[in-house]
Assembly symmetry: C2
Homo-oligomer: 258 residues x 2
DNA sequence: ACGATCAACTGGTCTGACCAGTCGCCTGGC
DNA sequence: GCCAGGCGACTGGTCAGACCAGTTGATCGT
């Protein structure tokens, strides 16, 4: 290594490790390592105090860290102790949501990212889907058409579920997870505008176009035509969101189209 | 809404909101909202006790949550109070790393996801890069060639930086961030194997191929040929990682190739 | 047999204390 | 005049002990 070849020993700056950190690390290790599987219980706080031989505040700070990571959940009065939840995707969603809310990334970036993720999961789904996937998707498309006239809420629900099933059909849970997190972040960021637009009267028109879009995607998946499915996904997102993006950012979305 | 039309009022189950949660939320709100910009300082804990009118343990648990989210950092004895860090991408990396370590997602999913993200950022970079980007990338490629024979560590560093610059050139900070987080997660997950393989003697051979790969990508970017750049990225990752993936998962990676 | 009661827990919060650091000021020696 | 050193007055990290409200399961009275 270059530092060593220059004659320096290369001491690492040692940063103090807090007691609550070591407690949290030990417990996290046990959870990630498979001891303490999801559903199992941690000992009570006062028992952990005895086992780790630290004060209760230290234990509690460690548990707070684990809880904010979604690894455990605690409930007052529960005689069984905190519940182990295991690794949950919600942390990802939260992190993405924060990133989106901060001006570190703009709405157009978020939508462009969603275009990329959706299109690629479509592409993979076209290649790797099972018959069961197709059956579920057909059913969802049917349900959307059925709900179309009278229940916009159920329609949106079926819509979201359609996308989730496609993402799962891609065979990549991680990709599906991120796609969902980004989807949620976009919805959070733009909800107000869209609800207004839907109330403005073009709702049923939009829903009708949405149904044909989903049918097109389904057909592309059935043909195992990944490129077509991906293009459909990108175009639909572009058409849907471009009007809500500042004009100077629209070029960015267009760049993600081809 | 369907629940209301069924005659139910639709009360939401109210879950108790802990004091530390409200404290953490208020502070997070201020940070995300732009008051309390990165670099600014929080009041001292005992001052927060007065302002929020809660006990110090409550304040400390709230600060722990914020710290574990990467929003703040505190140092004992600092008379200025905890430092605001703002939204950081490290949270994403951590969340992805945990997801990868748990069997919720396999190594092959992680690598496939990286193929998707890298390829798409290449594609966007080919379209949106600036002259300055090209200059920096050329310099990095030169540096890689220079380091090639005698400093594998610096070589890897330049390699990673090359990918980071390409991701930035895509113009989408979110995409770049995720790409980097996934990259780090892959490196964490596979590091042991790779180091062994590199020591086995094919290191310089791999580095030589890597240099030509980066030159190819650079050329594709210069030609604004997004499809070619994306394909190059996918193929390089496939060739590099396929041997380290269980045989039954290799088909998954192949599906991401086209 | 069963429903109300109660005691022994739980986690959430508060108080007050101590420690080891860190910083600013202030002083004494140059 | 200036600078080194020391002396407080802070900081965050940790601990101990207490109280509260909620949950639970056994116990008791009917």
């Amino acid at each position: 290594m270059s530092a060593e070849s220059a004659g320096q020993i290369g001491f690492q700056p040692v940063r103090p490790v807090r007691a609550y950190q070591r407690v949290a690390e030990q417990i996290e290790e046990r959870i990630l390592g498979g001891q303490l599987p999801p559903g199992s219980r941690l000992p009570a706080e006062r028992e952990l105090v005895r086992q780790f031989d630290v004060g209760r505040s230290t234990i509690r700070e460690a548990l707070r860290v684990l809880q904010s990571s979604g690894l455990i959940r605690s409930r007052p009065g529960d005689p069984l102790g905190a519940e182990v939840l295991g690794v949950s995707p919600d942390t990802l969603s939260h992190a993405l949501g924060r990133l989106a809310r901060s001006h570190l990334s703009s709405l157009s970036e978020l939508i462009q990212f969603r275009m990329v993720l959706d299109a690629e999961s479509y592409r993979l789904a076209a290649r790797l889907h099972t018959e069961e996937d197709l059956r579920r998707l057909t059913e969802l498309a049917d349900r959307m058409e059925e709900y179309l006239p009278h229940d916009p809420h159920a329609f949106s629900e079926a819509d979201a579920q359609f996308h989730r099933v496609v993402a799962e059909a891609s065979g990549n849970a991680l990709l599906a997870l991120c796609a969902r997190a980004v989807h949620d972040a976009v919805v959070d960021a733009i909800e107000g505008k869209l609800v207004r637009a839907k109330r403005a009267g073009d709702a049923s028109d939009w829903m009708r176009r949405s149904v044909t879009h989903h049918r097109d995607v389904l057909a592309a998946l059935r043909d195992s035509d990944g490129a077509r499915a991906a293009r459909l996904g990108r175009e639909a997102l572009f058409e849907h969101y471009a009007p809500h993006v500042p004009a100077q950012d629209r070029e960015r979305l267009r760049a993600a189209l081809d």
